[in-house]
């Protein structure tokens, strides 16, 4: 077990209560808190002010690289060992579109997954307090804070409608 981050962990049963708590935390200027949920939720995203994920850039770059690889591979390999059949062109676009397309999908998909992994690692979860009920039916909010801040944060989360609040580490 790594070192735990000190803070306050709250569990919410109601979506509107969790959103209120997020709103209150943001109004205080806090940005470093973490919200846990069992599934993605638009209301939570809205309350958190979540912007579009940069994963799409990974998809785009992977897809474009795939098309380029498809063009490069087919043309270079065809011209490297030219097979003249029936007077037809050595390298030609229509049959090679299949390779461009397949490699676009392949590299696009793999780079999307790479993007997901890389972007998820930008905010590591190691050391953050967690409760198994967050993958079941509760929404969790973990606010990292020192012991002096903790009572204020705890009161705020309780007032918002948290069903359980505890101190972590």
């Amino acid at each position: 077990m790594g070192k735990m981050v000190p803070g306050v962990l709250a569990a919410f049963q109601h979506i509107d209560a969790a959103c209120d708590a997020i709103g209150a935390l943001r109004a205080q200027g806090r940005k470093d808190f973490t919200v846990y949920s069992a599934s993605p939720n638009h209301e939570l995203e809205h309350a958190l002010g979540i912007e579009n994920s940069p994963v799409r850039l990974f998809t785009l770059i992977g897809g474009v690289t795939g098309v380029a690889a498809g063009i490069g591979m087919t043309y270079w390999m065809s011209l490297d060992w030219p097979l003249l059949v029936g007077g037809k062109p050595i390298a030609t676009v229509p049959p090679y579109v299949v390779f461009m397309f397949e490699l676009m999908v392949l590299l696009g998909a793999l780079s999307t997954v790479a993007g997901l992994v890389i972007m998820s690692l930008t905010k590591p979860t190691t050391g953050l307090a967690y409760d198994p009920s967050f993958s079941d039916d509760r929404i969790g909010i973990f606010v990292p804070c020192g012991s002096s801040d903790a009572p204020v944060v705890e009161r705020m989360l309780r007032e918002a409608g948290s069903v359980e609040v505890r101190h972590a580490a």
């Binding site: 109601h14 979506i15 979540i50 799409r56 591979m73 999908v105 997954v113 979860t125 079941d136």
Partner: protein, 449 residues
């Protein structure tokens, strides 16, 4: 007082009940499961022994009869690739269309896709004869710097199938991560340790969901054209040649519709007993089967049209070779194959116009078996009937499959079934996380979002 109809796609369970009921399907299994697994493994061993004999003695063991050098193995290859298509349609295409009924059934169908493609991918290797040289199909820098012929549909196939397998497996694994994390948080002991490894540290944080939701959407967007392209490429294995009965522009959409039809047939065959065995009747309901049957009706009707169009174009073309080929499909020596395909696919699917049949699970199961049989025969008829009378009349012949053909076919069902049964007991067969998205979360205050 007005009665508000409940949306049938919204689960009746609470979020906790969804987690509990799906996680309960994992782990310990009854005697029936082990008996079935034993039978399936035995079937796989039949295939394995046949394959070893093929390696030892060569393709002469199979019933290839000149000029028919594509037969049961290629038929079964196309059959399994087709089976995979319904999974991607339900998991990716219906995801993009925001079709909520897919949620309860998509995980099992997606797993089916991956295992079906794993099965199909074995067949080109089995079929090439000198199986140990299969890597010649790949563009690798060999000693003489020879490259594959990129104008050949067979090389297109290599790229299409390997991409399809990689992307389908990736899509399945990405979808599984939050659900495995939910299982990790509910089970104890060594199983918790195993699920901890597979959940890759997933905690469902806002940052993780932010990137996950987007990544999943883009994977679905990439898988959607991919699934349509894969069976088109498979169809071009045939359509790019000038063999009568194969050289048709209708082949790509005809094969894609057939693939989805056969895939949904297999989904029905698997899901009807599976939901009972795993006690998931309250999650996978009549509503889901009704929708699956409607999908079968749609694709079956497209097939009906394609069959009719094939015969019509054969006649209308005025081309003697085309006309003869289609005449022989219906009235030639292998007429039984031609009619099996027409009856099982074009006609049996029309029974789904009746709601009573669409919601009767026994009828659905029986019809699904007819679909599986019909779609295997469709590929068998397309391949062997065209090859049996191709160019030189003196070479015309009939195909007679041998034990080596049937052994590999049986083994393929064993191989597929083995993976599917293992998956059904080890990983959530219903998507916990997506099902929960459909359940409205409780509120302190009245009124919605």
């Amino acid at each position: 007082m007005a009665v508000i109809a409940r949306d049938p796609s919204t689960p009746t369970q609470t979020q906790h009940e969804v987690t509990r009921d799906v996680v309960n399907t994992l782990g310990t299994a009854g005697r029936g499961y082990y008996l079935l697994t034993g039978a399936i493994v035995a079937l796989f061993l039949v295939g394995l022994v046949t394959f070893i004999l093929l390696l030892k003695d060569g393709l002469g063991l199979a019933g290839y009869t000149p000029p028919i050098f594509w037969s049961v193995y290629i038929t079964t290859f196309v059959f399994w690739i087709g089976i995979g298509h319904a999974g991607t349609l339900i998991s990716a295409i219906l995801f993009l269309f925001r079709s909520p009924w897919r949620t309860a059934v998509y995980r099992a169908t997606e797993a089916m896709t991956v295992f079906a493609v794993m099965t199909a991918a074995l067949f080109p290797i089995i079929h090439i004869g000198r199986q140990w040289f299969f890597y010649w199909l790949l563009p690798y820098p060999n000693q003489r710097w020879l490259w594959p012929n990129f104008k050949s549909p067979l090389v297109w196939d290599v790229f299409a199938i390997s991409t399809y397998f990689t992307v389908s497996a990736t899509f399945l694994c990405v979808g599984l991560v939050p659900d495995v994390a939910a299982a990790r948080d509910l089970v104890t002991g060594w199983r918790q340790k195993v699920y901890s490894i597979f959940s890759l540290g997933w905690k469902g944080t806002d940052n993780q969901w932010r990137h996950y939701s987007r990544a999943y959407l883009y994977l679905a967007a990439l898988a959607t054209p991919l699934v349509l392209s894969v069976h088109s490429v498979v169809s071009w294995d045939f359509a790019m040649s000038i063999v009568p009965g194969w050289h048709g522009t209708i082949f790509a959409p005809y094969f894609v519709a057939g693939a989805i039809y056969s895939g949904v047939g297999m989904v029905l065959t698997l899901m009807i007993p599976l939901r009972k065995a795993l006690k998931l009747e309250h999650m996978i309901t009549e509503y889901h089967f009704d929708n699956l049957a409607k999908l079968t009706l749609l694709t079956g009707s497209i097939l009906f049209y394609a069959y009719a169009m094939e015969y019509f174009v054969g006649w209308y073309s005025g081309n003697t070779y085309e006309q003869t080929t289609f005449w022989r499909r219906a009235f030639g020596p292998a007429w039984w194959g031609g009619w099996t395909m027409i009856i099982c696919n074009a006609f049996v699917s029309q029974l789904f116009w009746f709601r009573k049949i669409r919601t009767n699970l026994t009828a659905l199961f029986v019809i699904s078996v007819f679909i599986n049989v019909g779609m295997w025969f469709e590929r068998y008829v397309i391949i062997t009937s065209s090859l049996s009378n191709d160019f030189l009349p003196y070479a015309w012949s009939q195909m007679n499959p041998t034990w080596a053909d049937w052994g590999i076919l049986a083994g393929s069902f064993g191989w597929f079934g083995m993976w599917f049964l293992l998956f059904a007991r080890s990983f959530p067969v219903v998507a916990i996380q997506e099902l929960k998205e459909l359940i409205p979360m409780p509120r302190l205050r009245k009124g919605g979002h």
